[in-house]
Amino acid sequence: MAVLAPEAYLRPDVIRQVQRFDLKARFVMEGFLAGLHTSPFKGFSVEFSEHRKYVPGDDIRAVDWKVWSRTNRYYIKQYEAETNLTGHLLVDVSGSMGYRGPGGELSKLEYATYLAGAMAYLMVHQQDPVGLVTFGEEIHEYLKPKSRPSHLLSILRRLNEARPAGPTGLAANLHRIAEMIPHRGLVVLFSDLLDDEAAVLDAFGHLRYRGHDVIVFQIFDAAETNFPFDELTRFEDVEGLETALTAEPNAVREAYLKEVSAFLERYREECLKRRIDFVPVDTATTFDKALLAYLQRRCGR
């Protein structure tokens, strides 16, 4: 059996073949980190912040011996990790997230959970507490942010057990979550955002008002962004909310893609106004692109 390079696990079609969910998340994270060797973000996990004088009681393992050998003084390295960034992973598990288009490797929910799992790995890896919220019409799971490795396993298990069902209550749940999170932190949302736009944007504003940094991973299936259908099709809503529609795909494709494009553009503009990172991805996008967006956000703090 050929041994795959770590970067290979960033591809959805490859990660799909991994059975264990914790391994999936780990492989994605390791592949991402391996890909960073040549990137300008070196030393991400032990990111240096400043030196300060040693005072009794400090951990002697933090003493910078190189500085001591040159100056004969004791200094301690301070790291970014010490800023205690608390992350909250919000995963939409409504019925629409279970959609997987023809020829697709992953459903939107699968893609979201892998991405969320990898991100949880990263956060725990740098001792950042990370929490998890899964929601559909209501909030299904809520794990408080912790940085222990055992907590990571809990997150991964919850993500693995998530199943798409029911309508979405995105805007209402975001408002609820904004109230639930007591301290400022990083909120990462994984959703297709197929809810009332104005209400969702209003909820984004609520999160920002509470001082959270927000990253929105807007996840579409590749079939939703490319509309690859070519024969007469009767489209039924996966959530059962919209009336079914029979259409000639070739005839409506152009107008459909314009609608989708306008939808994304509206979110992009509104998120920019609210200083929210809006990252549209589809299930064919490699995970590094999504994680890179997170990293950019993390470095910006």
């Binding site: 297709d192 509309f227 409506v252 494709r253 994304l264 589809d282 996008t285």
Partner: protein
């Protein structure tokens, strides 16, 4: 447009295939559960209408492409390319019909309508192939088949077209088309049923002719050939005309004042026009007419009849227009001694009484339509009448005179035999039993002088008086009756009459009027060269109400027309244009030669009278069982059969009577039909409607005719442009179909939502 392979048009039925496929072959949609349905709904809402239109357009394109392909394979011949049709390329059979009515003489520019028709007919002959057959008819009141059989000799037809001329008659459209159809029916040979054929009708679409045609059947619907109407008219022309110019007098005496009643159609209804009256080419009167908005103006001229002899007059409207032929109307009269009438009556027997002929005398003396009748009546009592008195008169009226002696009856018989007219009234003074043998059997060589056997006197009670019924409405005695006079005549109540039984074996006897009970009232019979009228009632108020004031007009008209008929004169001074004329010639020449001088002719022609020898009419007067030998008498009148009068104007007939040194002259005025003076044209659509069930098309130039026949179409094929059109349609259909059904997702990927996602990194 014609088709050279018309059966291929059945292929056009394949145009229904796309529709059938559209209705039955709809694809079953694939079911797909989709998340972003909201975008699909929005896009479908915006595109569905345009999509439906595109689908419909595509369907129509496919239908049209298939139909066009079928039409292309049927090899159409396009009419607009007709000028490019080569001479000598037109096959099939053609009947040319030239409208020769008066309106065709209208000359708006340098050429008249008829000349344009001739030019168009010649142009059609140029197009004919050598194997094309052609016939020709000239249409007016009658359709004259100049070339009545289809012929390959185009030159002969060309000459006939060149010789033809517009006359002064009106157009009887139905007769013309029936004649054309008859030619085809006559020439329909086995195996030729499907051959190309057409009637080509050169006309100016005059409204009066086509409107009259619209009221009657235009032919049998079956086997009607297609018709092409070549319209040679040029819009509606204003026209001034003399519509009528009549002398109401039946006979004119020298020195008498004549009255001419005329109707003039001015050029414009708001402009004064002038009419001139000429007699013997001398203008004797002129009148200005103020139309005052009227399309026709009545005018009256009173003028002296002039010296004894015949005179020709004409009334002319002095206005220039496109149709000169109807600007004057001619008339003729003889100012010689008027026909004298002898009334034999029973005189008044006491004071306050009237003679039995009083009302008849009054009727003849009563001015008719403002003028005297012109008949000079002499009254004589029955007891004073002499047998030799009749020869100086043209008409003898027996106004219920009572008993007449044998010599008088014999003289009367000879009088009628020689051409005199006898009008017998049977009033209360009549004794049928005494009269019957005298007048019917005893003195008749043939069946009798009177038109029937006399029965008994019948006197009706006041509540059983009988009305009058008209048995022969077209009889000359009744021909001039207006509808009002006819109704008055029908209202006459008869109180007394003599029953008359017409002789069934006598073909010369006829019943003109009857009583409401069916008994004959007025009977007619020709006897020898003369004529007898018998009225079964008397001319007095005791017999009928005909003489009372209300019904007097009926008596007046009846007596005047009867006398005109009996005197043998009247209408012979007038004749219809284009119709043959039967002229009565009194005192005919021994050699039978009559000199006929048509208008504008330098020299007279010669025609011969048909001499009527008394006693020679074996058929008209079969000999009776015990008839005595006929008395030998010279013929006093003869019939002159004149061929159709082609020229309008005054025709002069002259002959030298036996034993006289001077010629006797008869003038006959011939005028065009007044209805032709209305040059208004009928709209094309209305004309086509009037011609139904004929299938016709109207063109201005013969080369533009959209269809002459299936196999001999004028025009040109355009196969390559047609095929290119089909290919262009298919290309458009392919393009649209590709846009609708085969657009790939990748087409929009670079610009669509995927592009937005790609830009995320």
């Amino acid at each position: 447009m014609g088709f050279l392979a018309g059966t291929m048009l059945w292929g056009a039925l394949a145009a229904g295939i796309p529709v059938i496929l559209h209705l039955t072959g709809r694809a079953k949609p694939v079911l797909h559960r989709f998340a972003a349905l909201r975008f699909l709904h929005r896009s479908h809402k915006t595109t569905s209408r345009a999509l439906r239109i595109k689908h419909l357009l595509l369907l129509l394109l496919r239908i049209f492409a298939i139909a066009l392909l079928a039409v292309t394979l049927a090899r159409p011949v396009w009419p607009w390319s007709a000028p490019a049709a080569l001479p000598g390329q037109l096959h099939g059979d053609y009947v040319l019909v030239l409208d020769a009515s008066l309106s065709m003489a209208c000359r708006a520019g340098e050429t008249s309508r008829f000349e344009r028709a001739q030019a168009q007919a010649a142009a059609l002959l140029d197009l004919l192939a050598p194997d094309a057959r052609v016939a020709m008819a000239i249409a007016a009141e009658e359709a004259e088949s100049v070339q009545g059989r289809l012929t390959l000799d185009h030159g002969r037809v060309r000459e006939a077209v060149a010789r033809a001329a517009a006359g002064g008659q009106t157009l009887d459209l139905a007769k013309a088309l029936r004649a054309a159809q008859a030619i085809f029916q006559r020439e329909n040979r086995p195996g030729q049923e499907g051959a190309a054929r057409a009637v080509v009708f050169f006309t100016d679409l005059q409204a009066t002719a086509f409107a009259a045609a619209a009221r009657g059947p235009m032919g049998e619907e079956a086997h009607l050939p297609p018709m092409v109407i070549v319209d040679v008219g040029e819009g509606e022309e204003r026209n001034a005309a003399v519509l009528a110019a009549d002398l109401p007098q039946y006979a004119v005496a020298s020195g008498q004042t004549l009255t001419l009643n005329a109707t003039v159609k001015p050029l414009a209804t708001d402009r004064t026009c002038v009419v001139d009256l000429f007699v013997d080419d001398v203008r004797i009167a002129q009148k200005p007419l103020e139309p005052n908005g009227q399309a026709a103006v009545d005018v009256r001229f009173d003028f002296p009849a002039g010296l004894p002899g015949v005179h020709a007059g004409r009334l002319r409207v002095v206005q220039h227009d496109a149709l000169a032929a109807d600007q004057e109307r001619v008339f003729a009269y003889d100012a010689g001694r008027p026909p004298r009438t002898l009334i034999v009556e029973r005189p008044a027997e006491g004071e306050g009484q009237l003679g039995s002929g009083h009302f008849l005398r009054a009727a003849l003396a009563t001015p008719s339509a403002g003028a005297a009748s012109g008949l000079e009546a002499e009254v004589v009592a029955a007891k004073d009448v002499k047998p030799d008195q009749f020869k100086d008169h043209r008409v003898v009226i027996l106004a219920d005179p009572g008993e007449l002696n044998d010599a008088v009856w014999r003289a009367l018989q000879n009088f009628v035999q020689e051409g005199g007219g006898l009008f017998v009234w049977l009033g209360p003074n009549c004794n049928p039993e005494a009269l019957a043998p005298m007048a019917y059997s005893t003195y008749s060589r043939n069946l009798g002088l009177l038109p029937g056997h006399l029965g008994k006197q019948v006197t009706l009670a006041a509540d059983k008086q009988q009305m009058v019924r008209i048995a022969q409405p077209d009889h000359p005695v009744l021909a001039r009756f207006t509808p009002q006079v006819r109704s008055v005549l029908r209202a006459v109540k008869v109180r007394q009459y003599v029953s008359v039984e017409p002789e069934a074996a006598d073909p010369n006897a006829g019943v003109v009027l009857t009583l409401s009970g069916g008994a004959p009232l007025l009977l007619e019979k020709s006897y020898g060269a003369g004529r007898v009228l018998l009225c079964a009632t008397g001319p007095t108020a005791a017999s009928s109400s005909m003489v009372v004031q209300g019904e007097a007009e009926a008596l007046l008209t009846l007596v005047l027309d009867a006398c005109r008929l009996l005197s043998g004169g009247g209408d012979e001074t007038r004749a219809r244009l284009g119709r043959p004329l039967v002229l009565t010639v009194f005192d005919p020449p021994a050699d039978g030669v009559v000199r006929w001088t048509p208008p504008n002719a330098a020299r007279p022609g010669t025609i011969y009278v048909e001499l009527e020898t008394p006693g020679a009419e074996g058929v008209s007067n079969p000999p009776g069982k015990n008839a005595p030998a006929a008395p030998a008498a010279p013929a006093r009148r003869a019939k002159l059969l004149v061929p159709p009068l082609r020229e309008a104007g005054v025709h002069r007939f002259a002959w030298r009577p036996v034993g006289q040194s001077a010629d006797r002259v008869q003038l006959v005025a011939v005028n065009p039909v007044a209805s032709e003076s209305d040059l208004a044209r009928m709209a094309d659509a209305d004309a086509l409607e009037a011609l139904k069930p004929w299938e016709a098309s109207i063109v201005k130039e013969v080369a533009q005719a959209p269809r002459f026949a299936a196999k001999g179409a004028v025009g040109r094929e355009w196969p390559i442009p047609m095929l290119l059109a089909v290919l262009a349609l298919l290309a458009v259909e392919s393009f649209l179909s590709n846009r609708l059904y085969t657009a790939t997702p990748g087409d929009a990927e670079s610009e669509g939502a995927a592009g937005d996602l790609g830009g995320a990194a």
